[in-house]
């Protein structure tokens, strides 16, 4: 019987059925649920790695040991893992190696909109691209066959609307696979220049063979509807095009987007008077078609920004649009906010109050940039808060070092912040770093990490001792403060900013959404005591608003953290 599955769940099912034995990933929206799902199968060893580079290297090692192995990450995670990827492209594999990379057109939960197909092209690694959940499963399985047949890692690219859409999937039994014996072979595995030169030749030959494969691969499908119009497409864009254009056009749907076939493009185009290329983000299919001399239109119509959908395609190509009735008034926006009881709030309130310049990082706490706290000055990528602060302070020195901090979550700190903190200690910038330790990887939906004391399967694991770690790399001033106690947090921040040496403040309080966290009863406002000063509203807590001129706390949201009560000068907020 078919089951509704997220693309990510189906992907995991495909890995399982194909006999995958090893998965190592770092969480990242929209890729996270692949690894969470595969961890539920007892036959597969699955782990959260500290970052994507570690994940891919670990998966490569498992492949050398003869297992079918896997690593998953979001698009920006592949940048972190690019180093092992580009050389694994040379060594090839022993057991098959599949790497999932999830792009985020429209940036639902990302800091940029990069197109991962560029990495496949640049690393000379084949890339498959499913367009629904059933294909996620099938392509994951096919990925292993291609990996082993062509001796290469295989990238499988999804996007938000594939990864996070559910559609029906046929489940089949697992095909158990023997480990392939590891045979010592330095020419293949030791990438010193003398060996790598030989391997580069093999990589180029492999690409030629893969192009031949792509010419007739069943996942590169032609749908001939007898039309004079041809559409070349891939991934989610295929689904949008099918919905908008139905059987009115012919399709060349590419399930393999690197390397691309030549003759298949030419033969398809030869039968059409007009060719459109419909692809999200960059014009990669289009550039290939144009290099082959095919006259076609793509990015000049659709652009390379944001997601496509069926309405955009119908409007641009058919000139039709659905009838729309707008709501008669302008409505206030509802941006994401830090949750009620979020431990990060006390830190950002204090930083905003003292007008501190804040070097931000990637996680829930990026929401400290939003109104009304507006505390964060810049956010780039995982781990960058500490290194950016270091460079900033090295230039501005006494002009900046007593009024700037870096903020970074526990998981992000372990991911790549640690290297940056080593640099702060080693090259001695007078920087203050606040590790926002909420005992979980929050934004991606509560994954364990090396600081939490649990592993992916929920079993007890070694926990990084953050205080000892910071001391060990040469930071002498390390202190812990509770962000629910504003006075304690304020004292920690002002004191550490005042000293003339690097320092770390660990703001420690578990995420309010964690199931084991016991909440206090909701607070309420004693209206007669409330003077409507709106001091409590400065926290940006979604549970507090003004009703009939007085502050009011929504009992369905409040978790009783109490920091609004600490701020109220009139004692109007009561338990």
């Amino acid at each position: 019987m078919k089951k509704l599955m997220l693309g990510n769940e189906a992907f995991a099912r495909g890995l399982y059925e194909a006999g995958c034995r090893f998965a190592s990933s770092y969480p990242g929206t929209p890729s996270t649920e692949i690894t969470e799902t595969i961890a539920k199968y007892d036959e597969v060893y699955a782990e959260w790695a500290p970052n994507e580079k570690v994940a891919v290297e670990s998966a490569l090692g498992a492949s050398f040991a003869g297992a079918r192995a896997f690593a998953a990450m979001k698009h920006v995670g592949l940048n972190v893992a690019a180093d092992p990827l580009y050389t694994a492209a040379y060594t090839g594999v022993n057991g098959g190696l599949v790497i999932a990379v999830a792009d985020d057109p429209g940036m639902h939960s990302s800091q940029n909109e990069q197109d991962s197909r560029h990495h496949a092209i640049a690393s000379k690694v084949p890339m498959l691209e499913p367009s629904d959940s059933q294909e996620c499963k099938e392509f994951a399985m096919l990925g292993y066959d291609i990996s082993e047949d062509f001796d290469t890692p295989v990238l499988i690219r999804t996007a938000t609307r594939v990864a996070h859409s559910q559609s029906a999937v046929e489940q089949l039994p697992r095909q158990e696979r023997e480990l392939k014996p590891y045979v010592k072979n330095p020419q293949k595995y030791v990438m010193v220049p003398a060996n790598a030169r030989g391997k580069h030749v093999i990589v180029e030959e492999r690409t030629k063979k893969l192009i031949t494969y792509a010419e007739t691969a069943p996942i590169n499908k032609v749908e001939d509807n007898g039309s004079e119009i041809g559409v070349i497409t891939c991934g989610a864009a295929y689904q949008y095009a099918k919905e908008a254009l139905g059987d009115k056009v012919n399709y060349l749907k590419l399930g393999m987007t690197n390397p691309l076939p030549n003759q298949l493009f030419l033969d398809f185009a030869a039968k059409c008077k007009t060719v459109y290329i419909i692809e999200e983000l960059d014009g990669i299919l289009e550039q290939h078609a144009k290099a082959l001399g095919i006259e076609c239109k793509g990015k000049e119509i659709f652009g390379c920004i944001g997601e496509l959908n069926q309405v955009i395609i119908a409007e641009k190509l058919l000139g039709t649009a659905p009838e729309v009735t707008p709501y008669p008034e302008q409505l206030p926006i509802r941006p994401p906010v830090m949750c009620a009881g979020c431990p990060h709030r006390g830190v950002f309130y204090t930083l905003a109050k003292h007008k501190i310049t804040v070097s931000g990082d990637i996680g829930c706490y990026t929401l400290g940039a939003a109104k009304p706290l507006e505390s964060i000055d810049w956010t780039i990528c995982m781990g960058s808060s500490i290194s950016c602060l270091h460079g900033y302070n090295k230039i501005l020195n006494e002009k900046s070092q007593n009024k700037t901090v870096a903020v970074i979550g526990d998981s992000t700190f372990i991911h790549t912040g640690l290297n940056s903190l080593v640099n702060v200690a080693y090259n001695a910038s007078n920087s203050t770093v606040i590790i926002l330790d909420n005992s979980i990887t929050g934004m991606t939906g509560h994954q364990q990490n090396p600081t939490t004391g649990k592993n992916l399967k929920g079993d007890p694991a070694a926990a990084v001792d953050l205080e000892a770690l910071c001391h060990a790399i040469g930071i002498k001033r390390v202190r812990v403060a509770d962000p629910y106690h504003l006075a304690e947090m304020e004292q920690a921040i002002t004191e550490e900013l005042a000293v003339d040496e690097p320092s770390v403040i660990i703001s420690r309080r578990p995420c309010a959404l964690l199931k084991y966290v016991k909440h206090n009863p909701p607070l309420h406002v004693e209206s007669d005591k409330c003077r409507s000063c709106k001091m409590c509203l400065k926290l940006g807590c979604p549970a507090i608003s003004m009703k009939d001129g007085k502050a009011c706390i929504d009992h369905t949201q409040c978790v009783g953290c109490g920091i609004c009560g600490e701020l109220c000068k009139f004692g109007a907020i009561a338990k």
């Binding site: 078919k2 509704l4 997220l6 929206t29 929209p30 996270t32 639902h108 939960s109 938000t160 609307r161 996070h164 859409s165 559910q166 559609s167 029906a168 989610a236 689904q239 949008y240 099918k242 919905e243 908008a244 959908n309 069926q310 309405v311 649009a321 659905p322 009838e323 729309v324 009735t325 709501y327 008669p328 008034e329 409505l331 206030p332 926006i333 509802r334 941006p335 994401p336 906010v337 830090m338 949750c339 829930c364 990026t366 929401l367 939003a370 109104k371 009304p372 934004m443 939906g445 709106k534 509203l537 940006g540 807590c541 979604p542 507090i544 608003s545 003004m546 929504d554 369905t556 949201q557």
Partner: protein, 190 residues
């Protein structure tokens, strides 16, 4: 059958994922091709969230755009207003009367719009408004508003109640099933 489009809208954290799973499960049991598109990650943190559920003989795109939805199920009034533009002519809205102030309202930069239900009716929309929060609290938890609304919606669709009950069994963890059955029943009676 022509593809039908349902949107489930609300505020991140209100439980739209469970609602979409229940609905998707019901539709799959009826033999339709089904696609459900969810949003995870940052927008789940108290932002405006939308989940799409599409079903029919063949469903391609998982997303629903302006002017395409047959039904909107809303957990919050302002969100019902925000997404109403996505309805087809003759579309329906089933909404909770719960209101949650968005940050611009909390900071005083904007005020919470008034007369939303009247405005929606004025747009020619068939509106069903239910105090799902009170009913959920009556069932045992404010968090069950999503299942109360599923109860309301179940009365408006032509599927046997048994199919909905089966979907509840499949989507809700056993220790919460009794409370959710009660919430569903209160929604059906509303």
């Amino acid at each position: 059958m022509e593809t039908k489009s349902i949107m489930i809208v609300g505020v991140g954290g209100q439980g739209s994922l469970l609602a979409s799973r229940i609905l998707g499960n019901v539709l799959l049991q009826q033999g339709y091709e089904v696609k459900v598109s969810e949003v995870h990650g940052m927008s789940q943190r108290g932002g405006s969230v939308v989940t799409y559920v599409k079903y029919g003989d063949a469903v391609y795109s998982p997303v629903v755009e302006k002017g395409e939805a047959d039904v909107i199920i809303s957990f919050e009034l302002l969100e019902a207003a925000r997404w109403a533009v996505c309805l087809k002519k003759g579309g329906k809205i089933v909404t909770s009367t719960q209101t949650l102030d968005p940050m611009p309202v909390i900071t005083g930069a904007a005020s919470y719009p008034e007369g939303i239900i009247e405005n929606l009716k004025g747009m020619g929309i068939d509106v069903t408004a239910v105090d799902a929060l009170s009913l959920a609290e009556q069932a045992g938890s404010a968090k069950a508003s999503n299942v109360v609304l599923m109860g309301v919606v179940s009365k408006k669709m032509d599927f046997d109640e048994a199919v909905w009950q089966e979907a509840l069994n499949q989507c809700v963890p056993p220790k919460f099933i009794e409370m959710n059955r009660k919430a569903f029943a209160l929604g059906r009676e509303a």
